[in-house]
């Protein structure tokens, strides 16, 4: 199968697991022979979007920049994986239209679970008022209306979520399924021979 480029866009609150899932999916797609690049929101803000703040305008600019790079990569048969909070629906839709081959993954996790987990210690600070414009606390988050995949990271393991994303990509015909299906025809012949050797066939 020809390896097509596409953009896999993870959106969700801070700490929901976007980067973890992006890395798991990256590993699986590379193992299947795809060229993959991950654009991580936290990393992008230290270079490509350095200096941008957290106003709605700056957030939208940040997303448009990530979207621009994803578009370039997608056009060149690369799987571009974006992992950014991307809280505003309108700019995500704008990026979707621009790129075309766009798969949105909503990484859903209830805010009380996130503030309990608080891996980066940010929720505590946001709730104490030490950080302003924190998505989900004092800044809005607009969930996608119809994402291609929704994963629930409070009740699934990262591996289960990643597997669901991969199988959706298979369904969409963006990723070849054959590598992960059970037995190929040659495999089946070998399985038959081994079972015969033990008297099971």
């Amino acid at each position: 199968m020809e390896r097509k480029g596409f953009t896999l866009w993870f959106t969700g609150l801070s700490g929901a697991g976007k980067t973890t899932l992006a890395r798991l999916v990256e590993g699986e797609l590379k193992a299947r022979g795809h060229k993959v690049e991950v654009l991580d929101g936290d990393v992008i803000r230290t270079n490509l979007s350095k200096g941008l703040g957290f106003s709605k305008e700056d957030r939208d600019t940040n997303i448009r920049r990530i979207g621009f790079v994803c578009d370039l990569l997608t056009r060149n048969e690369v799987v571009a994986i974006a992992a950014a909070i991307s809280p505003y629906r309108a700019v995500r839709e704008e990026v979707r239209r621009q790129i075309g081959s766009f798969v949105e993954v909503y990484v859903e996790c209830p805010i009380d679970v996130l503030s309990d987990r608080d891996v980066k210690g940010l929720y505590k600070k946001a709730l104490a008022g030490e950080i302003r414009n924190f998505t989900g606390v004092d800044d809005p988050y607009e969930p996608p209306a119809s994402p291609e995949v929704t994963v629930h990271t409070d009740s699934e393991t990262p591996e289960q979520s990643a597997a669901r994303i991969i199988s959706r990509l298979e369904e969409l015909g963006l990723v070849a399924a054959s590598q992960t299906e059970g037995y190929s025809e040659e495999d089946e012949e070998e399985v038959r021979r081994r079972l015969e050797a033990l008297g099971y066939v």
């Binding site: 289960q160 299906e181 059970g182 037995y183 038959r192 081994r194 079972l195 050797a197 008297g199 066939v201």
Partner: protein, 465 residues
Amino acid sequence: MGLFDKFKSRPPASQEAPRKEEVTKAANRRAVLVGLDGTPCTLVRRFIEDGTMPNFRRLAERGSLLQMDTAIPDISSVAWTSFMTGANPGRHGIYGFLDLQPNSYKIYFPNSRHIQSETLWDAVGRAGRRSTVINVPSTYPAKPLNGVLVSGFVAVDLNKATYPPELVPRLREMDYRIDVDARKVQESHDALMDEILTTLDRRVKMLLEQYDAGRWDLFIGVVTETDRLQHFFMDAIENPGHKYHSAFREFYGRVDNFLGAIAERLRGETFMIMSDHGFTGIRQQVYLNRWLMDNGYLRLKDNARSVEDIDGGSRAFAMDPGRIYLNYKGRYPGGTVDKADAPALLGEIKRGLSEITAEGTPIIKRIYDRDELFNGPCLGFAPDLCVQPVYGYDLKGAVNKRELMDREVFTGMHTQDDATLYISAEAGPLRSGKPHITDIAPSLLDSMGLPVPQSMDGRSMLSRA
């Protein structure tokens, strides 16, 4: 009582969440399980007595060694899937090493993608804890998990058998073997014994390396060579004058060394040892399809190789080991049997099979109806009858046999009621009752302080008293 009744009568205690103080106490508990494919409990007891397995003796002195029932059909694919899901085949969907595709007579080989129930390590992963799972049969292709998994029998390609893929180069470097090549027996029994010992050595080396790599809360390592040895050398252990008698015992001595190596690494973990079925010597192989043909229930095309070559007018067929399927209209393309006629037909087949004798005694111990054994969403694919033979009569699904019974190269066959379960004292007191293979997953989760999913039919062996 049908085997399934034990699931229906599960007391509510095992479904309750552990009390809070228990959770806290058990929260950091780890567990280790070693699987010995096909090792009978009676053989373990004998080897403990006669000094072949001194490490197992020491373990048994401070823990419980129990005889265990396994799933029916008592073959590895069904048994290990029942182990890993804690569920009956009606729920997990695996009834054999081979099955027929829906509305067809075409054979397929069930693999991990066909398992319909959550596994033990899914439940462990959901709690944020890691599993290392090495060489459990029927886990191929390897599915992602929170941890490490290397599939066992019948895995073909190491790349697809390993998660995460980064582990593959190390396995290749170690010349790891997924399985014994049983075809070596065609060369000679010496060659096969050599193959079994070499595969065991490489297996043990890899299992210990993965154990020592740490980063797991649940370690599961399975040895397959025990089963392979017994398929071809079971006669050797019954006969002290047999050429391979001492080789058989030395093999188990090496297995015991491995158990000792695990035992000395334990740091307070709950330790369990299990087998997926027992073994006994073969007197005769019995071909149920021959019986169905001789009695007018089955017609096959000329030179048939499998049930794929079933001919028109057939009313029933058998699949390995003792699965009988009615050729239902609507379920199979050449179906002839109406649902309404099934009870009478099944009764007739059961009576006929019960009358088969060898050397003047019956060879069928019991015939189970589908609903006695299975319950769940995969019931529609279940066999209509499961035939359990008496020890010594190995039921087979072959179609190309002229006689009802004969002997081949195999000298050992599986048993359902003599599997092994050892649980170390760290698990605390155990409940009474003979364990069933589906009880192991709930027991492991319980010992780790984790909740038992509703999808598991088994009951924890740990006593809450």
